[in-house]
Amino acid sequence: MVAVDKTKEQVAALGEKYEHGWASDIESDYAPKGLNEDIVRYISAKKNEPSWMLDWRLDAYSRWLSMDEPNWARVEHPKIDYQDAYYYAQPKSMAEKPKSLEDVDPELLRTYEKLGIPLEEQKILAGVEGYERKVAVDAVFDSVSVGTTFKKELAEAGVIFCSISEAIQDYPDLVKKYLGSVVPVTDNFHATLNSAVFSDGSFVYVPEGVRCPMELSTYFRINAENTGQFERTLIIADKGSYVSYLEGCTAPMRDENQLHAAVVELIALDDAEIKYSTVQNWYPGDADGKGGIYNFVTKRGLCAGRNSKISWTQVETGSAITWKYPSCVLRGDNSVGEFYSIAITNNRQQADTGTKMMHLGKNTRSRIISKGISAGRSDQTYRGLVSMHPNASGARNYTQCDSLLIGKTCGAHTVPYIESRNPDAQIEHEATTSTISEDQLFYCRQRGIPEEEAVTLIVNGFCREVLQQLPMEFAVEAQKLVGISLEGSVG
């Protein structure tokens, strides 16, 4: 939470005029349960969207109606009733909300303590009644206060960093050109749903030749209510530009909305580079998996230009179910796609995650390093596709897929799909499965390292290649998180 502390300091320095912010008109801002055309219209109207945006949403909605939920992933959950969910600013019924921290899952609180999160912040993260995000945290993350500091520097560089709602108003040409260009409206059931009802998200545009002067983090932008549920992010790196974007938070966040379906689209033009890092730590549910988030995410980057590069780094430790395949379409010649992933599942968590590398251009290169750690009674699948198209001569892929099992009741599965339609392309795939051995634990303990710390050390070692890819401020927290996620998995 280092970034949060920093932000708080900055906000404090800016004065307290936003303390009571905007609580007033948000209270009653919600649509009834269920999904129909009127709800889509309602969402669009609430955001004062132009008609082209509403048409786009309605088109998505009508297509969604005839689509089926994907069922090929190795996850199990009760059938989701999409009419039983809220699609805009869900009213949090007071009966469902914890009245105080005492009503919150004590395991969650212990985690907050270990991460060193202040008590007030804990209440917000846990969704305690009277500590809604919009009242407390959004005051902190108010776009006006924090934004003035960060946006000034960004504006000087010409970088646009705002919410997607703002972008629809202020930069309609860019949004029209790129929204849905990487993840088409009909890409998949969850992405289509997102297209119809997306609540908010981030928009980034880095102009030609600009190296973004700072790591862009979701901390530093306005967090409109409910962005987490159907988040929509669009990042465009123009020719020769560079941007690094950080998403997420190491603190496990509780959310009343069980269903999450985000879409992230990245576009890199000639010689541009986008680095996208995620720490996903949504509430995984209790030890029996009750109450956790279903996270169905579509993330895809398009290396549209020559010599462009897109790099995904993810640390996935949260959610009851994770369904997520950050992918790269390598269209530009000599473009590079990377996927570095750590997925940790414990207790009853299920994760089906991996990547797709579509090599369309010549001499395109991709690298996949996936580290899966399963503990408890969890189940995890790496699912990846490497596809070499006929024009991708000279293309190369290297994939390394390692699974670590802790205990005897978890599962790890690897499902790599490899297609090559170019005799010139090279594909390498390496996979290992290992366990934390009793020998390793005893060795560490004999040196004075207690069992849980030993597990953390060994797992962090296992993940090292991926942790090294994270920006510094994230890496340290992520290492801590690895340990916390695996608590209670041994002994």
Binding site: Q440, Y443, Q446, R447, G448, P450, E453, L457, N460
Partner: protein, 254 residues
């Protein structure tokens, strides 16, 4: 008057259902180096694991005291923190964890357990470099993952480095000579000898006399069938070298 460091009294232990130690008694006083020799299967490695508290080695009788304190109920990390060290016969590989990181974690966890302040990064680095130099351990080796891709000699030198940095008062060396050529053996033995002192105790477990030319013991014990069957001074090791263990084992059955 010598002060007892490690007192093992009538120790019985089993692995799964098989009794391995059958009434072993041994006292190591401060400043003493004891060697335990014995044939394969006598229980030498079991003894080292039982002293260190490894799970799966069940004590069925007797006691182990460390500076007068009963330690049989303590877990391995607690035993380590009060000053007990085991140099492994086959040091374990931990992929991805740098040797220096591992060592620093161990040093600081022990300090934490004893209520001492953790060493800061610079203080630790200085101490580690000073300890590594006489063992011919380079910075490059300290960056490599713990024991991964290390030669036999590098692994054993790494054990001695850890021993030096953790500064235990009682060291158990389990077949430290195995897998070492004569040059490596000399470096390791020099490292161990440098740590000898009036308040430290060593228990050197070995199959061969050879190691004892370099780490000269004050006492030599012969372990056979889970018990110490003979004790003596250094000359006992030389005698065993000539006669082998067969006589002793025959003596047992006779």
């Amino acid at each position: 008057m010598s002060t007892p460091l490690l007192e093992i009294n009538d120790l019985h232990a089993r692995v799964e259902d098989k009794p391995i130690l059958k009434g072993l008694s041994l006292t190591v006083n401060e400043g003493e180096v004891h060697a335990i020799m014995g044939p394969n299967g006598a229980g030498k490695s079991t003894l080292s694991y039982v002293i260190a508290g490894r799970e799966g080695y069940e004590i069925t009788g007797g006691s182990i005291k460390f500076r007068g304190q009963e330690i049989t109920e303590m877990n391995p990390e607690e035993r380590a923190a009060i000053g007990l060290f085991l140099a492994f016969q086959y040091p374990i590989e931990i992929p991805g964890v740098g040797t220096a990181t591992f060592l620093r974690t161990a040093v600081n966890e022990q300090r934490k357990a004893r209520g001492e302040d953790e060493l800061d990064a610079i203080g630790f680095l200085k101490a580690m470099r000073a300890a590594a130099k006489p063992l011919n351990i380079t910075d490059e080796m300290l960056k490599r993952a713990v024991n991964v891709g290390f030669s036999g000699g590098e692994k054993k030198r790494n054990e001695v480095l850890q021993m030096t940095m953790l500064a235990p008062s009682m060291c158990v060396l389990d077949e430290t000579d195995s897998g070492l050529d004569i040059d490596a053996l000399r470096v390791v033995a020099d490292g161990v000898n440098a740590l000898r002192g009036p308040d430290k105790g060593f228990l050197v477990i070995t199959h061969y006399q050879r190691l004892l030319d370099y780490i000269v013991p004050d006492f030599v014990h012969v372990l056979a069938d889970g018990k110490i069957v003979k004790s003596g001074d250094k000359s006992l090791a030389l005698e065993l070298e000539k006669t082998g263990y067969v006589d002793i084992q025959q003596g047992l059955t006779a």
